[in-house]
Symmetry: C2
Subunit: 222 residues, 2 copies
């Protein structure tokens, strides 16, 4: 399937925070709540998004910005599910920055959207270092990756308002200590919301969906 | 457990290839075969290394360079298993470059080693962009990450001589197409060796261990 693809260039680092504020301001003006989804490759970003959008699409007009280095498979999956989406190619860059988001928004009409999800490049390092202009940051950590990831990628857990622990349907296969991961995340970020979910079965999604509704209401009055 | 930690600084990009050749030459002179292990966070780098070292330690003197942004948990695991190891902290950098390896080798005595493994930062993007000075590059892709990763992170699969598909013990939990992933990898890199393994059960390790022995023999005459 042919999806629209945008090639973007990395911005000047010092300028990033200013542009991030511009992006946030513009989206707020339009009434568009933007959620930046970050995770390792294969943690389940796309499948989590598809289930999340399905749960919210009755009440919100939703769009998705898919960021990848060069592939377009995720935007194709979104289009196949009937979700308005755009594929962004980062030209080798390991994360979206605010300038790349701004360039994308100049070509991807989102002013009529209530919710805009961005699926960032699969990466726990660079993505955490850049303010993209999103209103909230969400990290998806999957059970097979292990409960030690907050120790190894602390910045990611500091910059997120919410952490989804995904693939809990695979519990019997992986040793994963819920209490330990919760303690490690909260030591870095006491305010972080943590939800244990399965994008495959839908388990745990009610709380996560409620959280998005609350955040959108708080930020945008929706 | 107290492990030795080295803090390194990123090198000048243009200089990287020259320094990588210096690192390779010096290790070759010492008879030390260096293997750079790359993967997403949680793909099983440390557990694969532990099982690999266990299979080879009777015939080779082995050391491990553990690269992380700030944690030291992996070097602690290696020390606990009696493996000579050092923890490198990259100061926020998402990958080791040749200069960082060179700085580490100035403080980590490896001249008496036959095999030196480097466990790179968990990342499929930045790690692939840098020649570290290793003799071979190996990527570990785990089943839960999905068979589409060669489409999304092609450079990683281009720069590796060998790809381990790990966690095959979790087959019943994840839809993963062996033929598709093989075809996708070989389209990017026809020479790549691919082994399907489980670091948990040891399945598939014989071929991988044989491959390391062959590479070390070819490169170093060991």
């Amino acid at each position: 399937m042919a999806v629209k693809v945008i090639d973007v260039n990395v911005g000047i680092f010092d300028e990033n925070d200013r542009i991030a504020e511009e992006v946030r301001g513009k989206n707020r003006e339009n009434g568009t709540f933007m959620i930046n989804i970050m995770a390792s490759p294969g943690a389940g970003k796309t499948s989590t998004l598809l289930r999340t959008i399905d749960a919210l699409k009755g009440d919100f007009r939703i769009g998705v910005m898919e960021a990848d280095i060069e592939a377009s498979v995720d935007a194709e999956k979104m289009e196949a599910a009937g979700v308005r989406s755009i594929q962004v190619h980062t030209g080798g860059e390991c994360a979206m920055d605010a300038s790349m988001v701004q360039q994308t928004l100049q070509q991807f009409e989102t002013s009529d959207l209530d919710l805009l999800f961005m699926e960032n490049v699969g990466n726990l390092v660079c993505t955490a270092e850049q303010d993209t202009g999103a209103h909230v940051n969400v990290e998806i950590l999957s059970l097979p990756e292990g409960d030690d990831k907050p120790l190894k990628y602390p910045l990611m857990f500091r910059v997120c308002q919410c952490v989804l622990i995904n693939k809990i349907d695979t519990r019997s296969y992986f040793a994963f200590d819920d209490a330990a991961v919760t303690e490690r995340i909260h030591r870095l970020n006491p305010q972080a919301e943590i939800f244990f979910v399965s994008a495959k079965t839908g388990e745990g999604f009610d709380d996560w969906i409620r959280w998005i509704r609350e955040q959108a209401a708080k930020e945008m009055g929706k």
